[in-house]
């Protein structure tokens, strides 16, 4: 075999062996092509975080929370936040909801959206797709999505309130800073019932600290329910060898008849 042909042949073998689909299957277990690998061939998740051609950190990937932060957003408070600064009405409501007595009224129990930031910390992976000017996040949980515009656009003062709000992002060195507002105030910030209002503004700071690990600092600024902004920290692991599946919650939701509610 002439040398160039042999090189192409090897390139083909290599690319199919590493990148190509391993036979007919769906994408539950498909190794990502460009994962740095250790000597034994396993993914080296402690390798440096990759960068895109423009020099920005590459946040692309399938990520999954290391714990169910959606259960209790205050599970890991930032060192600057000593406790959740509830307003009295919000504390009273959170205490009433906290024992599960109002669980039927929690929007996700009715297959309504988790809201932001609860969605990223809900069980199940999410996929970040980074393009110039726009980052799209697809969440397996309830098959929801967010658009984070990084093209410099400004959000209008008056927007129609929504469950997941309107997001814009900018870079602070290697950290992606996402500001979201325009919420409808219907979401519980977590399953134990911390309330939100239409005044909620959420800041998420995404930092890929190495190949396989992403940290997120989340600041809740909701003067309608809290006396001052407060911040939590969440951690996400890369899932280098799987992908998202559809999850349509409202297909057969039988729980409402069994969950407790204050209206019983």
């Amino acid at each position: 075999m002439p040398k160039p042909v042999r090189a192409i042949a090897w390139a083909l073998v290599f690319s199919f062996g590493v990148c190509g689909p391993a036979g007919a299957q769906w994408w539950l277990n498909v190794p990502t092509s460009n994962v740095p690998r250790a000597a034994g061939g396993e993914p080296n998740l402690a390798a440096p975080a990759p960068r895109l051609a423009d020099g920005r950190p590459d946040l692309n990937g399938v990520w999954e929370p290391i714990k169910t932060y959606s259960r209790d957003l205050a599970a890991d408070l930032h060192p600057d936040t000593k406790s959740v600064p509830f307003q009295p009405w919000a504390k009273k409501l959170a205490d009433e909801r906290g024992d599960g007595a109002h669980s039927r009224d929690d929007p996700p129990a009715r297959c309504l959206p988790q809201g932001v930031p609860r969605l990223a910390g809900a069980p199940g992976p999410w996929k970040l797709v980074q393009t110039p000017g726009l980052i799209v996040v697809i969440y397996e949980s309830f098959t929801l999505w967010r658009q984070i515009f990084t093209d410099g656009r400004k959000l209008a003062d008056e927007v129609n309130p929504t469950w997941l709000g309107y997001s814009t992002g900018k870079w602070d060195a290697d950290t992606l800073v996402v500001e979201t507002r325009g919420f409808n105030g219907k979401a519980w910030l977590d399953q134990v019932g911390k309330p939100s209002t239409e005044q909620l503004r959420v800041t998420e700071r995404y930092r890929r600290k190495d190949y396989g690990h992403l940290d997120m600092e989340i600041t809740i600024d909701d003067p309608g329910a809290y006396t001052q902004p407060w911040t939590v920290v969440e951690h996400f692991d890369l899932r280098p060898a799987t992908d998202l599946l559809e999850f349509v919650c409202n297909e057969n939701n039988r729980d409402l008849t069994h969950l407790q509610s204050a209206t019983d």
Binding site: E64, T68, R71, A109, T242, F247, D255
Partner: protein, 142 residues
């Protein structure tokens, strides 16, 4: 049984991945972790649906001997698929033993943690939101 063997090895592989299960509601508001229950009987129906898979089974009542139909809530299809299940893993007339937690409302409903197939003895985790299912059932909203 070929399928079951394949399932068991898949289960082990995927358990190692430690993917959390999906739960969209509070476990504690619906089930009582302090009331474990073990049910043995025959599968009558499988609802392979979101947000939870339901298995219905006839369990002989200890006193009367007549069958009582129980509903078992499990994780959603994605959680179970990642634990190695397929939609054909359980079929009507299969004999199974289920370990789980009783519903608080007193109905014939339980949250399944694991299922043992009588025919093969294979144990499969049920992706329960309240389960203690090792690494496969780690994260939960309860």
């Amino acid at each position: 049984m070929k399928t079951s063997t394949a399932l068991a090895s898949l289960t082990l592989t995927l358990l190692a991945a430690g993917l959390p299960v999906q739960a969209h509601h509070s476990f504690a508001a619906q089930y009582d972790a302090a009331k474990p229950i073990t049910l043995t009987g025959k599968v009558t129906k499988v609802e392979w649906t979101n947000p939870h898979i339901y298995i219905y089974m006839d369990v002989p009542d200890e006193k009367t001997g007549s069958a009582v139909n129980w509903a078992l809530e499990m994780g959603g299809p994605n959680a179970l698929i990642r634990l190695g299940w397929t939609r054909n893993s359980l079929k009507p007339d299969d004999l199974i033993t289920v370990e789980g937690s009783l519903a608080k409302d007193g109905s014939h409903l339980a949250n399944a943690k694991s299922i043992v197939m009588t025919a093969t003895g294979k144990k499969m985790l049920a992706g329960s939101s309240g389960g203690t299912g090792g690494t496969g059932g780690g994260a939960e909203e309860r």
